[in-house]
Each structure stands twice: as C-alpha cells, then as structure tokens.
C-alpha cells in the first residue's frame, strides 16, 4: 500500500512538473510571432492609424490601407507627438478650427491601462489617506495608515505603531453620520504621492453603497456617492488627473467600463460592445483634446472604440489574428501535450494551477502513448490488470504519464501475502 502510494505520488509530481515545463521548453524553440498593432485615432483626418511590426521593422498604416513614413505618422497624431512636432516646427496652428494650445493638449491627455491581474491581487489592507489640502506643493505620505475593522475605520501610526484613537474616532463618526455600514467590503485608492492632487479613497460599505472619503486639513470629508445599484462594482482604478472630469475607471462585475465622473459621481459608460472581459482582456483607455478611446486587447484580437468628448461613438476598429493553436507548431504541441499547466494565467496575480486541455488533438497523442505503454508492459511481463491505475493515467495524461511511468518503474512488492 505505502509502496504504491510513494510511487504514485512521485509519478503524479513528475506529470505535474512535466506539464509545466515541457510545453514551455517546446515553445522556446518553436514559438510563433503574433503581431498586435498599436492603434490611435487621428484627429487630422478622423481615421484609425496604427503602428505595427512588419517584416522589415516598424510600419505605419491607417485603417484604409494607406501607408506612411514616421514623420507623416507623427503628423497625423499631433496630440500624441506634439512635443516632437513643435520641436520640428511642424505643429499645426489648429485642427478643424480648434486652436491647439500645448498646455491644453497636455491637460487633456490621459492614459489608463488596466490589466486583468491588477484587478485580482493580494493586498495588505492598510491604506495611507493623504492630506488633500495640506497647502503644500507636493503631496506627502501621512504617518497613519488606516484599515477598516468590523466597527470602525482605524488609523495606525507607522512611527509609534499605536492606534490614533482621535483620528479613528473622527473618521468613524463621519462615516456613520453619512449612513455608512460597517464592515466595509472594499477600498479603492491611488496610494501614491506622484500625482497632482489627492482625492482620498472610495469605500464600498456593508450594504454595497459607495462612499468617497478624503482627509482635508486633518478632518474627514465623507460623501455618499449614490452610485446606481445596477452597476455592481468589481474595481475602481482611481486616477487623479488634472482634466478633473472623472475620479477614475469603474470596472463592473458584468464587464462594463465607466468613468466615475466629477458630476456627482455619475457613471458614464465607455463603449465596449461586449468585447471586454475583465478577467482576460487588457484595456487601454485614453483621453485627448478631441476623443475618448477604448482599446480592448485579447489574445487573438483587438477591438477599439472612439467617442467624442461627450461619449458619442464615432468609429470602431476590429482585427483578429491567428493564435498559436492555429499554426502547425500549435497543432504539434496539442498532439504532444494533452494539457498545459501554468502557475499564472494573466487573470490574477495569485498563483494557481491553471490547466489548458488540448483536446481533441491530444486524444491521438494519448492513444499513441497508451499503445507504447502497453508494449512496455508486455515486455516487462506485466498483466494489464496489474497496471490499471497506470493505464488510466497514461490515457489521461498521454506522454507525460508515459514518461513518468517509465522513470518510476514498477517494482513488484516484496511482501505479497505471507503464507
């Protein structure tokens, strides 16, 4: 019994290890290049223009198929390359009658990249609530970090390691006065001093209500956001920016995207048209003087939507490409490896055992492995009946199981029933 257990454990560990490393090793040698374009919307002639890696280096092309050289490309995107254009003396005075002021261009220009694993990562629930009206030019970290306990918002002083009862009491009371229900479910903030100003944090309370909490001159400022219950919040990427149009991006549980606006926290939905999956897609949201752009990147495709400043959809772009599985190398891999195990899958920062099953091609590979294993059993003069667990293992795990069973060979028990 224990001999079997030890052998099967070693076999399983070997299968596990092989299913992690062998596909990796394979792809080091045989990987195929996928070509993700980088898209922007040109305010000059209102067309998608992209840079992508061609066979002879970087190429620039628009959605209508016109190609450009680098200078032309930059000239099409003055909101992006205005520094270069000004330096070259190529910056237009105005576009479509709108006068171009570099400061305004800069103020309007924001980019938020949201990767799926950022939405699911370990966190020590201690938050620095910055002083938002310190009167100083630069933001500073406070000495106290807060945590939301069962019945209060608790401030711990990082220098003395003591709880600041005064601050705790004031903030807890302010929350309660605004109808806040302890304990909180989540806290969202942008804990950095490298920003122009501070908007504190957003907290979802025990009744799924959204609250905005700031510290101003040491005093709590608490606002209930009255955020619609129809939009269940998965995450808020808080991003203080000088445009002061929105506090950040809300990702909803049903994979929609919103700006959380300064207009009484009213959510404004960004166009995703069902292409966004917050667990797998990377989304890049950009704002500029004219447009709002949402670019959704997946493994096998990119979908881009552009709106005007009032969030009316202007244009969209869709492109898909072949993935590894569509290439010959991918088919060979699927044949050799019935499944692949990875510790990371991009949807989370946490380690997991993420399996990808490569059926149905793997079935052929598994069958071959099984036949080889049966020949081996014959050679070793073992009956199939004595090897049922191994046969099942090879059927399911194919070449991994075959290799494991050959490495950890069967050694007959030294103690059959004693007479």
């Amino acid at each position: 019994m224990i001999v079997r257990l030890s052998r099967y454990t070693l076999i399983l560990v070997a299968v596990l290890v092989m299913s992690v490393y062998l596909p990796d090793l394979y792809w080091i040698f045989f990987d195929v290049k996928t070509n993700t374009p980088y898209l922007s919307y040109s305010p000059v002639d209102s067309v998608f223009i992209m840079s992508r890696r061609g066979d002879d280096g970087q190429i620039f092309v628009d959605a209508d198929g016109n190609t450009y050289d680098r200078d032309e490309y930059e000239a099409k995107l003055p909101f992006f390359y205005y520094m270069q254009l000004i330096s070259d003396g190529r910056m237009p005075e105005s576009i479509h009658g709108v006068k171009l002021d570099p400061n305004e261009i800069k103020r309007n220009r924001n980019m938020h990249r949201i990767r799926p694993y950022q939405l699911d990562q370990p966190l020590i629930p201690l938050y620095p609530l910055l002083e938002s009206e310190s009167g100083r030019v630069r933001l500073e970290f406070p000495e106290e970090f807060f945590r939301i306990q069962n019945k209060r918002m608790e401030f711990i002083n990082s220098v003395t390691k003591k709880i600041d009862e005064d601050l705790t009491e004031r903030f807890t009371q302010a929350l309660i006065d605004n109808g806040f229900e302890f304990p909180a479910k989540s806290v969202f903030m942008n804990p950095t001093t490298r920003k122009a100003f501070d908007e504190g944090c957003f907290i979802i309370d025990g009744k799924d209500e959204l609250y905005h909490v700031k510290k101003a001159k040491g005093q709590p400022v608490v606002n209930k956001a009255n955020f619609p219950a129809s939009i269940p919040i998965r995450s808020i990427i808080v991003s203080e920016n000088v445009l002061k149009e929105y506090y950040g991006v809300v990702v909803s549980d049903d994979d929609r995207l919103f700006f959380l606006t300064y207009d009484n926290y009213k959510p404004v939905e960004l166009p995703t048209m069902g292409y966004y999956d917050s667990h797998y897609s990377t989304v890049i949201i950009t704002t500029d003087l004219f447009f709002r752009q949402v670019s959704i990147q997946n493994n096998d495709r990119i979908d881009v939507f552009v709106t005007d400043r009032d969030y009316n959809l202007l244009d969209e772009y869709h492109e898909s490409w072949k993935t590894r599985d569509d290439y010959f190398q991918g088919k060979v891999a699927n044949f050799l490896f019935p499944f692949t195990l990875t510790l990371y899958d991009g949807s989370t920062t946490f380690v997991g055992l993420f399996t990808t099953w490569n059926f149905p091609l793997a079935l052929i590979g598994n069958l071959i492995a099984l036949i080889v294993f049966m020949f081996f059993l014959k050679k070793e003069e073992r009956t199939f009946k004595s090897a049922i667990p191994e046969l099942i293992l090879v059927t399911v795990t194919g070449f991994y199981g075959l290799i494991a069973c050959l490495v950890y060979i069967y050694v007959p028990l030294w103690r059959p029933e004693r007479k």
Binding site: P412, W414, R415, P416, R418
Partner: protein, 295 residues
Amino acid sequence: MEYAVECRNLTHYYGAKKVYENMSFNIKTGSILGLLGKNGTGKTTTINILNGFLEPKAGECFILGENSQYLSPEIKSRVGFLLEGHIQYDFMNIYQIEKFYAQFYPQWKKEPYYELMSKLQITEKQKISTMSCGQQSQVALGLILAQDPDLMIMDDFSMGLDPGYRRLFVEFLAEYGKAENKTIFVTSHIIQDMERLIDDVVIMGYEGVLHSSSMEYFMNHFRQYDFLLKDGPAFLEKDDVVVNFDRVKNHAEMYSFQNPEEVKKYLKEKGIAFDNFREVHMTLEDAFIGITGKY
C-alpha cells in the same frame, strides 16, 4: 530443523550476463559452510539473495524456514549478518553502537562484546570510522556475538584483515560455532584459513558451482597428479576424470577426484605415455586453485 539454509535452483542474471543457473545448496543446522570463489563469481550475489536484498530470476532460498525474500523480523533477529568489509554504523563509538543494537534483540548479551572490545587498543570515545580495519572487524564480530543469532552470514570476512586478525577471526568462529552449535555461512576469496574452519564447501566458478561437498570429502578425494609427458606436449580436455589440466612443456599437472590407479588407467586408455607419475599433497588453497584454475 535439518537445514538452516536451503537454496533451490537459484538462477540469476545481471542483464544478459549469467551469474549462475540452477544453483542449489543446503546448510545443515550447526555446521559451517564456506562459499569459495574468485572475485566476481557471485558470492555477494548469493549473500544478497539470502538476505533478501536481491530477488533471483528463478529459484528460492529458505532461511530458518522462511523465504528469504520475505524475512520476518523474528527470523531476522535470529540471523547475524556481517557485511563485506565489516561495515557498521561507523559514526558511532563502541558504546553507542552497543546501546543502539541492544534494544532490538531481546536475548542481547553484551558481555562477549565488551570482552572482545577490551582487547582493542582504542580510546573510549573513538568513533568506529577512525579504527583500523582489524579493529572494525572485531566490533562487527562482537556485535554479532552479542546478538547471539542461530545463523551467521559473513560476507568476505577476511577482506582487508591483517593475517593476525584473520587468524583470530577464524579461530574464534570455529571454536564458537562448535561450542554454541551455531550455523555459519562464510564466503571468502582468501582460502588459506578456511581449512580449519569450515565443515562443508561450495566452490564457485564463473559458470556456476564447481563443487559442493563436505570439506572432508573434498580434501580426501580431490587430488593433484604430476607427471612427465614422454611423447612431447599433449593436452587433456576436461571430462569426468579430468577436472583441470595444466602443462608447462613436458611437465603436466592434472586434477581429479579419481584415485591414482584409475587415473593411470585413464591415461593409458587415452594413449598418453607418462613418466614420474606422483600424487602431490594439497592444502585447501592448492585444491581451490586446482579446481577453479589459475585464471
């Protein structure tokens, strides 16, 4: 129990290399059997099979009535085992190792052990690994004596021993075995001292067992004859009469289990003219070389 050890039809291969085929031998309870053979003839293989460290391709051994592949703790406690080279837990000193083994054997007798140890020139805390080969052999032997087993299996006990220690070992074993009616199985590739020790002998060659009988029978019946070949060089093939034949120019050495008259008759039948025919007295070592050949 008539036999302490019974081995039947042992066959073993290492890969394609045959070690032996259909080897059988028994050890009578209370007797001392020597398994003699040159290096590489399968002595250690046999020991491994006896101790259950190797499963033979075919055949089986019974140790004190139990299949050697499945020895129970009870039987193992009645078998003393000396590893080739007197290997012991040499990270211990002589007191630690005695204390260690004592708890495993209910009939443990520490007196003979300490008696033996008192004769060694060692310090109290000296680790076994720092002792000489001879001293280590005495430790290993002492532990077996303290265990007081019914059957002792000793793998090449003479290895690495000075002549003095070797003699000591042999004399002790011989006396002890007789006095306590122990069954002893020894292997060795040094034959000199075996004569005074063993009751029965099994001689192994590269092709398997060459001879198996009592020592008495072997020493009395196995003979060497020297003679001169009158008609110049001739060669005798091995057969029922000729166990081994060797020749330097005209001088012939022949080994046989037959008496002189039979051998002379045999030579005449073969038409071989000879002169100066004489029987040569042999020690066990001479006989061993005679039967196994010099190569």
